[in-house]
Assembly symmetry: C2
Homo-oligomer: 356 residues x 2
């Protein structure tokens, strides 16, 4: 009998590589799928992700590939960490191969587990953050469009890849409608340094991670203007309430935003030196124009796209999001950062947890 199939990680960026290290440490066989040949080949050869996790040694047994092979096509667990804007095409590219290989079966075709379809037997753990440009869809919805019969969980929380890769203690939350799926995902990662809590509110967990980068931009702008710790703490706190309003309009539970995927991730993103979005906010506050910043950075700060998506979503849902509106005005309508933040802050302060 062949050994059980490996866990498949989609995406070889910093977060994908870091999660592959966690899964390897938890005792799994791991295959990481990337889409650019030269990057994949370099990681496979040097055993280091020089671009995103320089200095971290990657064990030889983690395989980096650009195509599914016989073995990885049978993965019963797929950890999806592709960038949100490439997520749909990534899944469309691998779906035919997955559909030809029943999950967990041996090459002789014997089913290791009872499943309704080759895709239905798979547990997909979606870790991408943001909203798809154009459609405004959450990552899990993009995946579900391609592989509707899969069992889908979302994973989110304060989880800078550099720290996960160095096995520093990290706490995240995994959410699924069916608690059995969340428990299975929790068990997959179960190491002492990567702690996985469970939630039954996948929409809430996913919206928190998706929308946080707008607030990170706002925090960066506030920091760049020299507004201090009081203002930043208020922005984080009011930002969490704002995301919670957006989330509940989408069907999430408000309490979820008090957890790791809500305020937890916001705290990490808005106060950390690692955050690209916060860094972009600081540069904007210092007078740089968005187009010039975008011209000098290889990776777009996700929050720039997210601000447009969230703004579109808020008008569709009829939810007022004043911080997002201010960031949108600064990024896309050429408003002065100082003026926009001061206007935001000069709004009448009413009942704290009321609608305003």
């Amino acid at each position: 009998m062949r050994p059980s199939p490996p866990i498949l990680v989609l995406g070889n960026g910093g977060f994908g590589t870091a999660l592959a290290l966690v899964l390897h440490r938890a005792g799994h066989s791991v295959v990481v799928l990337g889409h650019r040949n030269e990057v994949t080949a370099e990681i496979e050869r040097t055993r280091e992700n020089r671009r995103y996790l320089p200095g971290i040694r990657i064990p030889d047994t983690i395989r980096f590939r650009t195509e599914l092979d016989e073995d990885s096509a049978r993965a019963t667990t797929i950890v999806s960490v592709a960038p949100t804007q490439h997520l749909r095409e990534t899944w469309m590219r691998i779906e035919p191969t997955l559909s030809r290989h029943a999950a967990g079966t041996t090459p002789e075709g014997k089913h290791v587990r009872e499943v309704a379809s080759p895709l239905g037997g798979r547990l997909i753990i979606s870790c991408s953050k943001g909203f798809e440009r154009g459609s405004g869809e959450l990552p899990s919805a993009c995946i579900r469009d391609v592989v509707p019969e899969s069992r889908l969980c979302v994973l989110s929380g304060p989880s800078h890849a550099e720290e996960i890769a160095r096995h520093l203690i990290t706490s995240v939350v995994v959410a699924a409608r069916d608690d059995a799926d969340a428990r299975e995902a929790q068990a997959v990662f179960g190491t002492t340094t990567f702690r996985v809590y469970r939630s039954s509110d996948p929409i809430g967990v996913e919206v928190g991670g998706a929308a946080k980068n707008v607030i990170a931009l706002a925090a960066g702008i506030s920091d760049g203007l020299g507004f201090g710790d009081n203002a930043r703490a208020a922005l984080v706190c009011r930002g969490a309430l704002e995301i919670s309003r957006l989330g509940t309009a989408l069907g999430a539970r408000a309490a979820t935003f008090t957890g790791l995927s809500g305020i937890g991730d916001l705290v990490a993103t808005c106060t950390s030196a690692h955050s690209r979005n916060r860094a972009v906010g600081i540069r904007i506050a210092q007078g740089e124009k968005l187009r010039d910043i975008l011209a000098t950075t290889e990776t777009i700060a996700e929050g720039v796209t997210t601000t447009a998506s969230v703004t579109e979503l808020s008008s569709r849902l009829g939810v007022d999001l004043p911080i997002t509106r201010a960031v949108y005005g600064i990024l896309y309508e050429d408003q002065s950062p100082r003026h926009a933040v001061e206007r935001l802050m000069s709004r009448a302060a009413g009942d704290e947890l009321g609608a305003d």
Copy 2:
């Protein structure tokens, strides 16, 4: 007719002085009462609070005193910012004088407002944080014991004194059982840089500010051990949930802890370079003993006392507070910081917003 009486600020530390500056800017006449003659005299003479707010010029019209005079004894608004451990004695010291002078009356004895008693006409805005040692009482309860007939509000939120004094934008929340009192307190401060939201949950607002320093110590310990941004964000987030459990057991509403006085203040305290409590946590993580740290600092970090009070309170209320328990073990039972934090983090991660 004499002008209306001044606003009385109790306490000339950093926070008291900063609030006096805000009140002055809002157009009020302000008297600040301190208890140490030499400090008060120095501030009055140099127009600077050299110990707590060096470099900030204090306008000549803000008066610094150690005793109530005819004028300040008639204050209709009293902003109470005395240290929690001296709060009761401060109020006991001034109560007889206040009781002899009807609030807001002219020297001729004409009542400016209809009040049931000299104290009943006063609005007290309590800004102290922590629990009283021994009794475990919240600051507002200490004040109420001395002047039960007053109208009492509590004010809290992310509010480093240095930033308030420099008129950087700061957002706080004021809470009272009676919304009319909260509105009156809100109006007292109404400047554009010191933004005051309202809440109807005074217990929740006060517990958030009182308990936060335990989590700030924990965050400092985590930082001092080099655990990184992910661990700190998780501590802040799990800490807020822990404070929320304590607060709801005391009668607060859970939602209040998602606001400025809950997570907002925690974010400011746990991530700021200004926080004394976080700084003590860092030193403890680096191997210093509590008694040695206390011997070298003039002001006790409030969290050290609070940790004992909260621990006592949690066992009385039967609420499990794992982070507080870990901090207590480190401070008072000589547990190794690394060992205690690792044990905290190796607890089974269950349902995220459940009881554990």
